[in-house]
């Protein structure tokens, strides 16, 4: 186990820029997820860490060692592939012991380790079976056991749950998280599924077009997105555009089509006065104000309901407000009357300022 650093890593294929520039410092024992839409460079980044692709520029360090030019064999990395990539001609025991055999671990130690790992992934007794005799979820667990058999300095996973159905995926997420808490292996995980990233990671790097847009804890990625892209990619979001007109009581004052509203200042962002800004508000932070005295110090705006969607425990309601904007409000069905005209309110700290 080691820390992992990517310093100014770039990958170009002729004119195509797969990874524009990535700087990352993954701490020892940390579980970091590269999250982003298809084609944003997640796999390319992961494969450069693995050593399957050479970066065009930049350095990759595991611990203190610069591994940039090193072939995959010499990097001491474990990897779980999306299609499992188990060896079809080897038994489960031999699959798991693959890296141990290559590293000449004595037979007795090997057997012991195989037993330990099969207990760990809760598949005891499958030693003599072949991969084709196991289900997808079981194969994925074997792939994980193979990757950590000889404790790797870094564990890489590229959409390892992508081929599983929803129920199994959720169960495997819990297992992965439990394993990570137990083993504390430095892990880089790739997914395009924000829910998966949220539930598994210590930190998330949201990638867009070959760059990292935001590197933060799951709760900050969700609660304090720094760019519109991040806000949009992770969950549902409302945007209100306007101009920054000043500050009051630690809140930013923004003039928007729905009037002057107050919003949280992002600690890291700096804005010149009068600059154009966007305020993002999560749908679950918006509520219907039934009586004016309930509003308190909330931002409020009057609007008209244009659609309602019942999703089970919650309703998604679209409300048209001035400035040709529709706000998405998430609420309990019981909070909603039949009235078409409503007042929407939200606490100032739930509006997050984003640079345009």
């Amino acid at each position: 186990m080691s820390e992992l650093k990517l310093e100014g890593v770039v990958k170009r294929y002729g004119q195509v820029v797969a990874v524009e520039r990535v700087d990352l410092h993954i701490h020892e024992g940390e579980f970091l997820t590269l999250l982003g839409p298809s084609g944003c460079g997640k796999t390319t980044t992961l494969r450069m860490i693995a050593g399957f692709i050479d970066p065009t520029e930049g350095r990759i360090l595991i611990g203190a060692e610069d591994v940039t030019g090193l072939p995959p064999q010499k990097r001491d990395i474990g990897m779980v592939f999306q299609d499992y990539a188990l060896f079809p001609h080897l038994t489960i025991a031999d699959n798991i012991a693959f890296s141990l055999v290559e590293r000449r671990v004595p037979t007795a130690d090997r057997r012991k380790r195989i037993g330990e790992l099969l207990d760990l992934i809760r598949l005891p007794g499958v030693e003599e079976r072949y991969p084709s005799e196991l289900s997808g979820g079981q194969q994925q667990r074997v792939a994980l056991a193979r990757a950590i058999a000889h404790p790797p300095r870094v564990l890489l996973m590229d959409e390892p749950l992508g081929a599983l159905d929803l129920k199994l995926r959720e169960a495997m997420q819990e297992e992965l998280r439990a394993l990570q808490d137990k083993l504390q292996i430095t892990t880089v995980y790739v997914t395009h599924d924000q829910g998966e990233a949220m539930s598994l990671s210590d930190r998330i790097a949201v990638m867009n077009a070959g760059r990292i847009e935001q590197l933060d804890t799951p709760s900050n990625i969700y609660g304090a997105p720094r760019t519109e892209f991040v806000a949009n990619f992770v969950g549902k979001i409302n945007f209100l555009r306007g101009t920054l007109s000043g500050q009051q009581d630690g809140f930013a004052l923004i003039d928007t089509p729905v009037g002057r509203i107050r919003a949280r200042m992002a600690a890291s962002a700096s804005f010149g006065s009068d600059s154009r800004v966007t305020v993002s508000i999560r749908p679950e932070n918006l509520r219907v104000i039934h009586r004016a005295e309930d509003a308190g110090d909330m931002n409020t705006v009057a609007g008209r309901i244009v659609s309602r969607l019942f999703t089970g425990n919650l309703s998604h309601v679209r409300v048209a407000v001035p400035g040709e904007v529709e706000l998405l409000v998430e609420m309990r069905p019981s909070d909603l009357s039949d009235a078409a005209e409503v007042t929407i309110g939200w606490r100032p700290e739930h509006g997050v300022l984003i640079t345009n």
Binding site: P72, Q73, M79, L86, F87, H89, L90, T91, F98, R146
Partner: protein, 284 residues
């Protein structure tokens, strides 16, 4: 997995059956009639010809030579063809398609033309010999034509295109990610080949070997032209027995021997593949 691959053996077997049985069923029948000379055959059935062939040293030596030459040619063709096919299967550039097309086209150029090309190249004062002589590697020109080695080269030339196409399909069955999994978990390129690529491809390679071997056993043109009349294989001998000796019964018998040898060797191949589960077990 094992069972599925064995089933593929039906393909070379079926090809052999159609090529050999269908076209030679007439000869099979005539093999049971003793020759009376001038193309006439005894009306009664007898095993006369078979006894003759299986007890005469001459025929047994020809059979042995045919099997040896075909076996060596098939092994060498696969040894040369598999790496080519593997590289083609792994190529990601546009050239892969062009090269495949080249192989495909050259496969369907008639063997007569290809063999004459070979004869020109390996001639006593052809480019190969001039190069070897000039470099002082040999003292006098080496002569492939009329030797078993020449026939092996001819058979390889005849079958290499088919072999590459067959092996290409086999190499494509190994996912790239499986190789990468081996690499990242510590296997050197050589170990990846020995522990992953080769064992996964082995059943397919065996099928390819048998197919090529069957082609060689029945190959007449390469053997006749490069053997130069001095290397007798079964197909060449059959032609001679018909044309020069006009012994239809004997020719039928030799054909039958050829057919049964091929069948036996193929059945043996199937047996071996079924008997041994391909792949190396490290942990018992």
């Amino acid at each position: 997995m094992n069972t599925r691959w064995s089933l593929f053996l039906v393909v070379p077997l079926a090809v052999s059956l159609v090529l050999l049985v269908a076209s030679q069923s007439v000869f099979l029948e005539s093999s049971l009639h003793a020759d009376l000379g001038f193309g006439r055959m005894a009306p009664a059935w007898s095993l006369h010809n078979y006894i003759r062939v299986l007890t005469d040293d001459f025929y047994l030596r020809v059979l042995w030579l045919t099997v040896m030459v075909s076996g060596i040619a098939a092994v060498l063709t696969i040894v040369v063809g598999f790496p080519i096919a593997y590289v083609l299967a792994r190529m990601r550039s546009r050239w892969a398609g062009v090269l495949m097309l080249g192989i495909l086209l050259s496969t369907f150029v008639t063997i007569v033309i290809k063999i004459f090309g070979l004869i020109v190249i390996f001639n006593a004062d052809g480019p190969v010999n001039r190069l070897l002589l000039g470099a002082g590697i040999v003292a006098k020109p080496i002569n492939l034509i009329g030797t078993p080695a020449g026939v092996v080269v001819g058979l390889m030339y005849f079958t290499i295109g088919f072999a590459v196409l067959l092996m290409y399909a086999v190499a494509r069955t190994v996912p790239r990610s499986v190789e990468e999994a081996a690499e990242i978990h510590g296997a050197s390129r050589r170990r990846v080949f020995l522990r992953v690529i080769l064992p996964i491809c082995l059943p397919g390679i065996a099928v390819g070997f048998l197919t090529v071997f069957n082609m060689c056993m029945g190959a007449f043109t390469s053997a006749a032209l490069l053997g130069g009349g001095r290397v007798l294989t079964l197909p060449v001998l059959i032609q001679r027995t018909i044309l020069f000796e006009v012994k239809y019964g004997m020719a039928g018998t030799i054909s039958a021997i050829l057919l049964f040898s091929v069948l036996l060797i193929n059945l043996f191949g199937i047996f071996v593949l079924r008997r041994f589960r391909i792949g190396r077990r490290v942990v018992a």
